[in-house]
Amino acid sequence: MELRSRTVNTVTVLDLSGRFDAHTASNVAAALEKVASAAPAKVVINLGDVNFMDSTALATLVQGMKRCRQAGGDLCLCRLQPQVRIIFELTRLDKAFDIYPSEAEALT
């Protein structure tokens, strides 16, 4: 899985692509920890090119979200593909995260 990081104003945007699972989660975890440990601890995760997520990946996002909120910031998601969207709906994690259809909307 590929991970790209960029900054828009003070918000970190992480672009992920490919399979987001137990094998690839640690890179994302490290990136999120980095964001959460520096102000303003705001991150938007672009899942537009992610075709699969397992429970380890979900746990990584949950952990990142908690850390960001703890630091006074937040983590939100955008551009979920249908098959990933379903996972969030089934587990009701769509109630835990702010999910947006586009990056622009996520950044506002």
Partner: protein, 511 residues
Amino acid sequence: MQDFVLAALKPRLTIFAEAWLAAGATGYGIWEDGRLLAQWPVGPSEPYDGRSAVTMPIHTNSATSLELCVTGTRDTAAQGRLKGEAALIADLIHLEGELDEMTTRLIETQDQLLALYDLTHAARSHLSMQDALNSLAWESSRLLRTDSAFAIVRMPDGAPIIAQQPVPYLSNAQAGALFHRVQAGQQDLLTSLSLENTDDAVASAQASLFIMPILVRSQVMAALGLLNKTGKPFTSPDMKLARAIAEQGGAQIENALLLQETLAQARVQTEMELAQRVQLRLLPQRLPRVPGLELAARSRPALQVGGDFYDFIGGAGRPLTFAVGDVSGKGMGAALVMSMMHTALHGISRLASLTPAAIAEQANEQLYDDFTEVGAFATMFVGQYDSAARLLNYANAGHSPVIYCPEGGAARLLGADGTPIGVLPISLCRDQCLQFRPGDLLIAATDGFSEAQNITGEMFGYERLLQLTESLVALSAPEVLNALFAAVETFSAGHPQDDDQTVVVLKGVSA
């Protein structure tokens, strides 16, 4: 002349001397640089009588001058005879020299064989790659009598391991660069180098190096290098022996790699066995008896174990309460979190008779901080059966698939309304209920079923599960259980089981 050479010549010289004495000569001797080495007849040495002596030089490669001398002979052919003897003696001396050289080399070779044996023997007791390399470098330097030797391996994960013995003369960068050169060139390298860090007075000297690539699993993954800090060259026999040692080193490196991989595998194996044992111990050992219900339950762990759980909580006199859930992640970590969940649920059920949503709320309260600490969450479905009213109360914290199929009706998913345990500090679950009459079927499973894959990578999916449930609604709970596992097994034949498969089956029966 060396003593052993003289000792070898004496028997032959004695034969010549006796022949001369028998023919009337008064003396026979061998001289070196004007000094008498031996004479016949043996006795106090006669002073050198130049007048009646016939002498003949012995031509050898040595720096000293050797000559044979006969005194008191009247043989006119004495010169010629003595010349022949001198030539024979010269040959003998030459042969003795060669023999001595060969003997020395033979002893050296024996030494080296013993040394190689030592090398192999020493290598057997090493567990780590670093130790194996240290031993190889040490023995190489010792056997080849070089100032130092270095061994380098590039591990499968790309990390290089370097050993220099007895003293490191090269920086890691220098050693790495030399390794790259032999790796690229795929052949031995003779070169020289200025040493960066040496506190000798010879800091300005160029060190001579001989580096050999080592094949490990048919690829150049390692190298053995020899270093002489004063630039002393490497002889051909040295390089031959070095290559033999390098090849031996390759075998040792392969062994060390194999050992590491076996150990890693054993560790993973042990971890998985532990995790599986934890899980099995914590699962219910017996099914409760409930009027109006038939129960069946089973959990089949995957090779890569996860954190599925199911439990029956609430004691006698209380409505049957059960929970089915799935902890995020895999392996030992997930199994440990599952045990935390187990403890929390049993503790909660002991306090009071709580509704499913209250149970989920309590569980979230108790576990939120710990789950945050370890970065985990757990989906959970809690069901509670009211025998009198034939009602199934339930709460669903992020869990699926839970399928309800009324007799003669369509199967539907009981969706989650709350987030999984440990995700938010507050629980969003609310109590829901449905009528559960004789003939109705409830299947509370984990996603090891819906996500089971076949050889083409297609997932079993929810559609199939719903259809399957409808087709099984007439069967008893144990029959449904077996049919579920059988269907998924058939579907995923040829594809390994990725996730735990757990299911609790409730079938309504007339009391």
